[in-house]
């Protein structure tokens, strides 16, 4: 059973991608395939997390070669919840793109690539092998390249050049780091690495972990290596940028969290003080970047960076509470950021622009959209009881507990500036009357409106649910954090070969409820 379940999050999207690619000539067929794949994904993800919650950590060894000899997929609470969130985002994006990109010539290829990207993301979440992680990172990267250049115009090509050039640097360094790590330890399995890395001299460990930190920091768009993100994201179609914003940088953060708990110990690696500084500056530079922008997508792009800062802050503080906060933040941010980009895209579709100077009047024209915007926007800004508050609360509490006052103050100031940015979008795009020279908004058919609004509304509902059902998600994040900081059960399960239960059963309805 587990053998089936664990591989399906990769198998289904890859199969769907292939099937979509084969149905180039029939748009509706590829839509149907894409939907089916996305829904199947979600079902599998729900099944997976339920299994993990009730039976504990699950491992499958591909080719029946036990770790550390073969490649294993490991579903613990963290990875399975990440897979679930990814599946949710997948459905939302697929639905949204059916409306948004239907007219584009690259429609079928687009769906194919979306599913490949999902496969890459979920593979990165599930794999227990560091080289396999590299492979899935590459699947993700090359797919993101492909999506980036679909039907690209001048600016998009320029954006793609920057994205590609800077991301390739990260990829190279990641690969080098794996090579050195293998040379030093002789193994690639993350659980196996845990013990072997501990035997390395401190300086060797610092050397190798520094390369990992650098490579993943680029992926996560941390200060000072985030330039690729604001240089490129705002030229992408909204559905694509929503997908990227939700998942790609988060995979970087996830990898950082995984690698710096299970493989290296952040404290032992010697990079904790640096990471604290990085986290603070990432928050700050990101939010200040956003404050200077007038393009919705660009504001949101800079906010990805500042929010990544909060997640890094959680990791940098390195207490159970802090990592719980980081995980909570990731879960929240994936949903909320995707939604904001989708709304931005809808505004662009209606008004033909996503520049705040050219927008306006959306409050009067589409009050329901205004409401739907308020939820993710104020969640991102950290208004309780919306989801964003709790993540912030947790990391700030953790930073106060560890007496990182400056970091806490930075986090609070960044929270204020986030409020500023969100209200800026609200005031300019929604409240402000439509500028006189602006064209009349496009009228969309009822069906199109539905396709746009359904994913937006669904994600908003999830945002609210996360905000109110904090306890189960907190439990989930806390258990994950505990397992990360005390990885022995994970290691035993992976190297022992049998799936063993080490997680306290959670109330399953809370998490499953969050997914509908």
């Amino acid at each position: 059973m587990m053998q089936w379940l664990l591989v399906m999050p990769i198998f289904i999207p890859l199969l769907t991608a292939t099937a979509c690619a084969f149905s180039f000539r029939k748009q509706s067929l590829s839509s149907v395939i894409s939907w089916t794949g996305a829904i199947a994904n979600l079902l599998v993800a729900i099944l997976l997390i339920q299994t993990v919650i009730s039976n504990g950590l699950q491992v499958t060894a591909f080719g029946d070669w036990k770790a550390p000899f073969g490649i294993v997929f490991v579903a613990d609470l963290l990875s399975s919840s990440m897979v679930l969130i990814t599946a949710i985002i997948g459905i939302a994006i697929v639905l949204y793109s059916t409306a948004d990109l239907r007219s584009k010539p690259f429609y079928a290829i687009y769906h194919s690539l979306i599913h490949a990207l999902l496969a890459g993301v979920m593979g990165s979440f599930l794999t227990g092998d560091i080289f396999n992680l590299y492979v899935f990172f590459e699947v993700m990267l090359i797919t993101s390249f492909g999506l980036m250049v679909l039907g690209a115009n001048k600016a998009q090509i320029d954006a793609a050049v920057k994205y590609v050039v800077l991301n390739l640097i990260s990829t190279m360094v990641f690969l080098l780091a794996i090579g050195l790590l293998y040379g030093a330890t002789g193994t690639l399995n993350m659980a196996d690495l845990h013990a072997k890395v501990a035997e390395l001299p401190d300086t060797t460990m610092m050397l190798i972990s520094g390369l990992f930190l650098f490579g993943f920091a680029i992926k996560a768009s941390a200060f000072p290596v985030f330039s690729w993100l604001p240089a490129s994201y705002h030229h992408l179609p909204s559905a694509i940028v929503a997908l990227y914003a939700a998942l790609l940088t988060k995979v970087g953060v996830y990898a950082l969290i995984r690698v710096f708990t299970i493989v290296f110990d952040l404290v032992d690696s010697g990079y904790q003080p640096l990471l604290i500084v990085i986290a603070g500056l990432t928050m700050l530079t990101g939010v200040l970047g956003a404050a200077s922008q007038f393009n919705i997508k660009r504001i949101l792009s800079f906010h990805i960076i500042s929010q990544i800062g909060y997640m890094l802050m959680g990791l940098a503080i390195y207490t159970p509470l802090a990592i719980t906060g980081a995980i909570f933040y990731i879960i929240h941010h994936i949903i909320v950021k995707a939604n904001l980009f989708l709304i931005g895209g809808f505004l662009k579709r209606k008004q033909g622009s996503d520049n705040l100077r050219e927008l306006g009047g959306a409050y009067s024209a589409m009050p329901w959209l205004a409401l739907l915007f308020l939820i993710p926007a104020f969640s991102l800004a950290g208004f309780p009881p919306l989801s964003g508050f709790w993540g912030k609360f947790l990391v700030i509490k953790a930073s106060l507990q560890t007496e990182e006052y400056l970091l806490a103050a930075t986090a609070l100031f960044v929270g204020l500036m986030t409020i500023y940015s969100m209200t800026k979008i609200w005031a300019e795009a929604f409240w402000k009357p439509l500028p006189e020279n602006a064209p009349a908004p496009v009228t969309l058919s009822w069906k199109e409106n539905c396709l746009y609004i359904t994913p937006i509304a669904a994600l908003a509902v999830i945002t609210i649910l996360i905000g109110f059902m904090v306890e189960p998600i907190y439990q989930l994040a806390e258990t994950s954090a505990m397992n990360l900081l005390n990885p022995q059960p994970y290691i035993n399960a992976v190297l022992g070969g049998d799936s063993i239960s080490h997680t306290a059963p959670l109330s399953a309805n809370g998490i499953a409820g969050g997914s509908h």
Partner: protein
């Protein structure tokens, strides 16, 4: 003998990095190719070097001859080479398209993405 190849890896990387910093996009690509080669070599060296004894098992044996080369880094490099090929191929054509579309091969003149429209 690893020392020599450590040196070569470093020098190749240095050349590659230098090229990656140049303004001509095709030179960047050449730099990438160099660095990518150097890193493959680095993985190879990191897996330790063995002269003239490939990890093959003779048709009448069950084990490779003693002192066989470490097969795992070879498999990793194979994967890395092929992935690198995919990435470089894409980058090459992106460079082509960028030159066609933007009218310049100068990466510092590619300023369409970050200027406010």
């Amino acid at each position: 003998m690893e020392f020599l190849w450590c040196l070569v890896v470093g020098l190749m990387t240095a050349c590659g990095v230098f090229l990656m910093l140049e303004r001509h996009i095709v030179r960047f690509l050449f730099g990438m190719i160099l660095v990518s080669n150097a890193i493959n070599l680095a993985i190879f060296v990191a897996g330790r070097l063995t002269r003239g004894n490939p990890p093959l098992i003779a048709s009448d044996a069950l084990l490779p001859a003693a002192g066989y080369a470490n097969p795992l880094p070879q498999a990793l490099i194979l994967t890395a080479i092929v992935i690198g090929f995919g990435l470089l191929l894409f980058t090459l054509l992106l460079a082509y398209r960028a030159i066609k579309e933007l009218g310049t091969a100068d990466m510092d003149k590619m300023q369409h993405a970050e200027t406010e429209q």
